[in-house]
Structure formats: C-alpha cells, structure tokens
C-alpha cells in the first residue's frame, strides 16, 4: 500500500500505524496533541499543544507547530526512531548515540495518523548562483574581456578562496570576485583582502568585482581601492548536461 491514513485513532491504533510506517521505511505524518522534551547538547521542553509530527524514511524527525518554516523540535537524518506504549500512553522517540541526544514526544490524543511510500527519483536543479556565473565565465571567458584566460578556481589564499584567478591579454594576474546579487561594500572589502595577498607580487595585479549591479558606496570604495567592476547577471537557464535515467532506455520498476 502506498498510503494509509486514519482519523482519530486511539493510542493503540496510533502505535500500530507508526510501527507499520517505521518498518516500511515510510514517511509518517501524525497530527496530535502532544508534549515534547529534548535532551542532548542542551535541554528543551514544550508543553501540551496540537502539532504535526513528521518522520521521513531517512530518519529525519520533526515536530511542527502551526507557524514558522522551521520545526520547533527536530532530529537529523539517520536518527533511530521508535514508538512505545506505556500504560496506554503513546511515546515517540528519536535518538542518536553520537552526539548523545534524545527527542521524546508524548502523544496525548491523535487526530490523524498516516504513512506514505511515494516514489521520487528526481533531484533539485538550481541556477542563478555564483557557481553558475563561474561556469559561464569558464565556458566563455570573453564575457569578462577580450583575451581573458581563467587559470584557477577556488584559488586558496590566507584570506579565503578566490572565485576565479586569471590572466588578461597582457599577462597581468586578474582576481575575480563573483556576486549573484547587487554587491555592497562587503563584497569590495572581500576583494581587497584577496588583493592584499598579492601585495609583494612584482607585477601589477588587477581586481574585478563581477555582479549584476553595485551600491553607490561600493562603487566609491572600488574607485578608492583602484578596483574594477564588470556588470554581469547570473544565468537563469538550467544546464543542458544531463544524466539520463535507465527508464529512458526501457527499464522499469
């Protein structure tokens, strides 16, 4: 069965549904009146209230209140989840041995208990970030300027990693700092810190901030530090390089 859901199950039935879901490695969703205690790196206690409890197949364990994006209490993937029934009261526990920590939910009454075994083979594709700008520069260095040649990425300096280190047409070293959003003075300061690492370099080193736009104070600071700016919008298209699936060749599950 892919999906099972029951309204107002008693504590014994809730216990059964959760155990079934756990042994099937399902995603379990419970709406219940519960209280929560956590003990581990710190301690926390949450009094009785109506909450949504989620246990995912990988052992992620979350208790959500009726507000906020983040769960109020949670345990990360690979937690050991266990249900137990003591004197008619249902307990749900998520624990880890390293670091030693334990989240316990006491379920007072259940409004809904369910489990779900879906199929999901896709991963998220992302674009519009610095990483995508970097690929764009490597694929087409001309967009920086004619003759620009990238020579290293994530070049390590005592002040952090340089996005792209390259050379211009005259052979001068060029330090590129990429920002996918409007860049402020912090971006300029960051670029300046990388430039400082080349202060004993004999030849001239250029520093270029690459971003869709810069703030006015950042623009002034760039001038003061004798750094350059190139306007570039991160790509919004998804990559064309894909891993096919075996389904494409007629495999089935």
């Amino acid at each position: 069965m892919k999906f099972l859901s029951e309204k107002n199950p008693d504590s014994l039935r809730t216990f059964e549904i959760i155990n079934e879901g756990l042994s099937k490695k399902s995603v379990i969703v419970i709406m219940a009146c519960c209280s929560v205690t956590y003990e581990g790196r710190a301690r926390s206690k949450l009094g009785s209230g109506d909450r949504m409890i989620i246990i995912k197949s990988d052992g992620s364990f979350m208790v959500h209140q009726d507000r906020n994006l983040e769960p109020v209490n949670w345990q990360p993937p690979k937690s050991q989840c266990k249900a137990s029934l003591k004197d008619g009261v249902m307990y749900l526990e998520g624990s880890r041995r390293n670091p030693p920590e334990r989240l316990e939910v006491e379920i007072k009454s259940t409004y809904m208990a369910s489990y779900f075994n879906g199929e999901d083979s896709k991963g998220l594709e992302l674009t519009g970030y610095e990483e995508n700008m970097r690929e764009m520069v490597f694929d087409n260095p001309k967009i920086i300027e004619e003759g620009f040649r990238p020579i290293n990425r994530e070049y390590s300096t005592p002040n952090g990693f340089i996005d792209i280190l390259g050379k211009d047409i005259e052979g001068n070293l060029v330090v590129l700092e990429l920002k996918s959003r409007r860049a402020g003075i912090n971006a300029v300061k960051q670029l300046k810190k990388y430039m400082d690492c080349f202060s004993d370099h004999k030849e001239f080193v250029r520093g270029i901030l690459v971003a869709p736009s810069v703030t006015d104070d950042a623009s002034e600071l760039l001038e003061e530090y004798k750094l350059e700016y190139i306007s570039m919008v991160p790509p919004r298209e998804f990559g064309t390089d894909k891993n096919l699936t075996l389904d494409f060749f007629g495999g089935s599950k």
């Binding site: 290293n152 891993n243 096919l244 699936t245 075996l246 060749f249």
Partner: protein
C-alpha cells in the same frame, strides 16, 4: 530453513561495498539455486545485479523461496567486521538476518529485516555493438586518473583500443589500452565519474571486467567469478548534452 556458509567473506564484503553506496534498501531472494539481488538506485541511474549460486557456498540449503529485505548500510556495518579468513554463515529467523563470523571465536550479528514492499526492478534489455574484456585494476586506475581533471568520463572503444578520457577546465587526461579483441563497431558514451566510482568499490570480486558499450547507451559492467558461480553486474545510464 535457510542456511548459507561461505569460507571467503570477501565476496559478500566487496559486493556490498558497491551495493550499499548505490541503494539504501535491498531485497535478496534466496531459493534452491542460490542468492540473487536486483536493485535500482533512487535516481534510476544505476542498476545492480548480484547472483551467488548455491555451488559457491560451502554449505547451502534453502527449502522454500525466501525474500530478505535489508537496510544495506546496516548490513555493510556488520560485513566490515568480517576478517578475510573468517567463515561467514547466513541464516534468517523471525524478522532478522543473522550473520555469524567464525575464526577463533564465534561472533553473531542480527540485522532487523525491513518490511518494504519491493517490486524487483527489471533492467532495460539492450543490444550492444561492442563487448570486450579489460583488467579490473586498469578500469579502477583510469577512473582515478580521470578524477584529476573532470567529474565526467568518456569511454570509447574502437578496433584496437579502449580509451578513457576527459576534458577538464584546466587540463585533459587520456588512457589508452590495446584490448586485443575483435571489435567491429566503434562506440562512445559519457558517464558520471561519481556513479562509476560507486560501482568500482566492488574491487575484489573479479580480476577482469566485461564492458558493453554503445553510442550514448548505458554502460554494462559485468564481473564473473572464474568458476561461473557468481556474478556482479551493473548498468549505468549515460550523461548527454540535451537540446532543451
């Protein structure tokens, strides 16, 4: 009753090094012919097939067909504890897979079976233009060479040579090997290096690997034991430049 005894623990250990990095859960099927397993990774990119015939085992008995569903990570944790000269015994009781390692002491581990509804995946049935054999170690080394420059690898075969190559941002790498086989059709496909690495964790199964290649087709990598008593094979979907 199911009981299987293997004097060489490496077969299981090396197979599950690869299998556990590809799939989280797996169903092993045992019957009078032996043990077999078919699994597809979550992203539907890699398919793995393991078959250990009853003749491979020192003792093998299985009265009725049996399905053994396990968490591969839990199984691997236990298999890691086996020393190469340990005798391994597999049995099943109500709800557990029991592994016993025996040398000067008898060490028993129980792994809880899971209750997954498992439909064995069926791999695509493909006709390959080019099939050839190469030493396993050559393949493993090539992957490490390529890893220096790229996260993708192009595998190519022509009349004379098997060529593994990659173009990176800062350099290229190419490995050429005279295969000495009769290949009439050239073939080339590109694969994710990370996915190939997962398969190649099974590096003690066999000294040779049989590769089947086509153009933009899945890679079939098969490893057979000399006596034909065991086989571990993989199917890996290729990477392509799509038009979208």
């Amino acid at each position: 009753m199911f009981k299987a005894v293997l004097s060489d623990s490496n077969v299981l250990k090396t197979s599950f090094e690869a299998i556990s990095s590809i799939v989280d859960e797996v169903q092993m099927k045992a019957d009078s012919d032996g043990l077999r397993l078919d699994a597809l990774d979550r992203s539907h990119i890699t398919f793995v097939h393991l078959e250990l015939k009853s003749a491979l085992f020192d003792v093998y008995s299985c009265d009725e067909p049996l399905k053994i569903n396990v968490d591969t990570e839990e199984l691997m944790k236990v298999l890691k504890r086996a020393k190469s000269d340990d005798v391994v015994e597999l049995t099943v009781d109500e709800g557990n897979l029991i592994l016993t390692f025996e040398d000067e002491a008898r060490r028993t581990f129980k792994i809880r079976l899971i209750d997954i509804e498992y439909e064995a995946p069926s791999p695509p049935d493909l006709d390959y233009p080019s099939i050839f054999e190469i030493p396993f170690s050559l393949l493993k080394n090539s992957i490490q060479d390529i890893g220096i420059v790229s996260d993708k690898i192009s595998l190519m075969v022509d009349e004379d040579k098997f060529i593994a190559s990659a173009e990176g941002e800062f350099g290229d790498a190419k490995i050429e090997y005279l295969h000495g086989e009769k290949i009439t059709e050239n073939a080339k496909s590109v694969f994710s290096l990370e996915k190939i690495k997962e398969m190649l964790k099974a590096d003690r199964f066999s000294d040779t690997a049989v590769l089947s290649l086509g153009n933009d087709m899945p890679l079939n990598l098969a490893m057979k034991m000399i006596s034909d008593e065991g086989e571990l094979s993989f199917l890996l979907a290729p990477r392509i430049e799509s038009e979208e």
